[in-house]
């Protein structure tokens, strides 16, 4: 009996996953590119090739412009907020301290709540009459906001809600911080490096590879997961302020039977994601964040 070659064994193990990815991701993605240049409605079975008609429509689409603006506003606010929250809490709660596990559980908890439930909860939190957020502002003498009725505060409200389900990034930071060698911190302390110096000179540079990965992942995620809050909290309103790209795509494909046009917008979403991440990685290289 001959032993199978190692490479072959590897491919054999990979095969189920590779086949699934091909069938469920690669093929639909390719079909999607194809549909983007047809008049497919999603209802009929005979889409016709229409060339660049959908692209021309895109260039004149005022709603798409609103949607792009909403998405970019969202990603530029939500990613930093979620990142700082996950990293800050992860570093703060990494050290063993009394009651630490309760705090860690509390930080992770919103992540296991289904998006829809969290959104319904935030409908109450952001309620202008009896919501706790306005009541909290009232304690400081502020009249509060009509959160979901004003374009800017509506966008901020969605970001606020998404600032809570940060458990995955939090756990990754927690684990990565705990892997760092305590002796390095002792060596730094001997040199007179205080807590903030240690954060700046040791923790952040040592965690940089993990942090860059988290940021990339969160950009991809944040451009997509705003669908549920927008759908439940505002349904894209007011004045298209929360008509994020995923919401707009959903509307086109399933509400307006514009499957082909929706496909084209998904390609746009992918390109935007790629551009932002490329920009981030260029910055990372420029600033020599990674060795």
């Amino acid at each position: 009996m001959t032993r199978p070659r190692p490479a072959l064994t590897g491919w054999a193990f990979l095969a189920p996953y590779a086949i699934a990815v091909a069938l469920l991701v690669a093929v639909p993605a390719l079909l999607n590119v194809g549909y983007a240049f047809t008049d497919h409605t999603g209802l009929t079975r005979d889409p016709q090739f229409v060339g660049l008609a959908n692209v021309r429509r895109m260039l004149d689409d005022r709603f798409l412009l609103d949607s792009l603006q909403a998405s970019l506003f969202h990603v530029s606010l939500a990613v930093p907020v979620r990142f700082v929250a996950a990293v800050g809490l992860g570093l703060l709660l990494a050290a063993p301290r009394p009651g630490g596990r309760w705090f860690r559980t509390a930080v992770y908890l919103p992540t296991v709540i289904p998006d829809v439930a969290l959104a319904v909860l935030f409908l109450w939190v952001l309620n202008p009459l009896y919501g706790p957020l306005n009541q909290l502002l009232g304690l400081f003498g502020h009249a509060g906001y009509n959160w979901l009725a004003d374009p800017t505060t509506a966008r901020i409200g969605v970001v606020l809600m998404l600032a809570f389900p940060i458990g995955e990034g939090f756990v990754v930071v927690l684990a990565a911080r705990r892997l760092l060698d305590g002796r390095l911190y002792e060596a730094a302390a001997l040199e007179g490096c205080g807590p903030f110096g240690q954060l700046r000179r040791l923790t952040l540079p040592l965690l940089a590879p993990v942090l860059v990965l988290l940021a990339v992942r969160d950009i991809i995620l944040t451009l997509q997961v705003n669908f549920v809050p927008a759908y439940v909290l505002t349904d894209g309103r007011p004045a298209n302020a929360t008509l994020y790209l995923p919401v707009y795509i959903f509307d086109q494909v399933f509400e307006f039977s514009g499957f082909a046009y929706g496909s084209l917008v998904t390609i746009l979403l992918m390109l935007i994601t790629a551009v932002i991440i490329t920009g981030l990685l260029l910055l990372v290289r420029r600033w020599r964040v990674l060795r």
Partner: protein, 332 residues
């Protein structure tokens, strides 16, 4: 003179374990002193207490007559070299060396200049652009030493600095450490569990067990006249033969008698009869494991090729007997 350390009734407990138990010790300026003991004897804890990485429960730590026990680590005039060197993996050698200087707001040009001088001195001047994971253990150790050098301390604290090196390198580095100390003449406290290092490296050796000092003195003196049976058994390899009640070595029931393996000689006129059980030939010498008729085991160090084998009957002569109190273990 700079570099006098006095520890007075120093105590540190963790839970129910007393790691350091009322230690009194005076280290003279410019001295190289070695703390040696089995693991858990408190030697590293003493080093960490002096460095300021840990706080004592009670007692005083005087560096140059200043009580530093409550002083933050970086304000003490001490530099520490860790066992695994604790080099910053994200920084080059130059970055590692200038780390402390930059924290202390020394200008970059001056910090670089001083780092280069320290690196030259330790023979790592051409490694300044390397990262720690691109260097050998010996090179890393030199970077750690250079980093300590840059603090210009009154006291160097070395926590098992040779433990991570392989045997030939350890031998060479031990000589380098000694040469460096002779050149700098800075007080150095060196922690090791390796009795070879304890014997060769220190002006004086401090033997610790269970958080207490058992004996302090020049290595040869401690070896020749161990203060108790623990020290007798700990220093020396193979350890001293200890016979409770004297047994084949003579003496009475109130004594424990000891004899070093090299003080037992194969001698046809010797008083002690024994049977060879095993011979360990070490090349330059041989170790005989023997058993006397009453069951006492004696280890004998002889020259190479002793001419006896397992099962042979031999007679031994014992010189330089050590007498310890059978009850307390103290030397009498």
């Amino acid at each position: 003179m700079k570099g006098v350390i006095r520890l007075a009734a120093l105590t540190r407990s963790y839970g129910t374990t007393t790691a350091v138990d009322g230690v009194d010790l005076e280290v003279r300026a410019g001295e190289l002193i070695t703390l040696v003991g089995p693991s858990g004897s408190g030697k590293s804890t003493i080093l960490r207490l002096i460095a300021g990485l840990d706080r004592p429960d009670s007692g005083r730590i005087l560096v140059d007559d200043v009580d530093v026990a409550r002083m933050p680590a970086h304000r003490r005039a001490v530099a520490m070299v860790f066992q695994d060197y604790a080099l910053f993996p994200h920084l080059t050698v130059l970055g590692n060396l200038t780390f402390g200087l930059r924290v202390r707001k020394v200008r970059r040009a001056e910090a670089d200049q001083r780092a280069r001088i320290a690196a030259q001195r330790l023979g790592i001047g051409d490694l300044l652009d390397r990262y720690p994971d691109q260097m050998s253990g010996g090179q890393r150790q030199r970077v750690a030493l250079a980093r300590a050098l840059l603090r210009d301390p009154s006291v160097y604290l070395l926590d098992e600095p040779l433990a991570s090196l392989d045997a030939p390198l350890r031998f060479a580095t031990r000589a380098d450490l000694l040469a460096l100390h002779r050149e700098l003449r800075t007080t150095t406290i060196h922690v090791t569990h390796d009795q070879h290092e304890a014997m060769t490296l220190g002006d004086r050796v401090v033997v610790l067990a269970a958080g207490q000092i058992r004996q302090v003195g020049p290595p040869q003196q401690v070896y020749d006249a161990p203060a108790d049976t623990f020290v007798a058994g700990f220093l020396g390899s193979p350890p001293m033969n200890l016979v409770p009640g004297g047994g084949v070595l003579g003496g009475d029931a109130t004594l424990t008698l000891g004899v070093r393996p090299e003080d037992l000689t194969l001698d046809d006129a010797g008083r002690i009869a024994a049977t060879v059980e095993a011979v360990e030939a070490l090349g330059s010498e041989a170790i005989l494991l023997t058993r006397c008729p009453d069951g006492t085991r004696l280890t004998v160090r002889t020259g190479p090729r002793p001419g006896v084998g397992p099962g042979d009957e031999v007679r031994l002569r014992a010189d330089r007997l050590h007498r310890f109190d059978a009850a307390t273990g103290r030397r009498r």
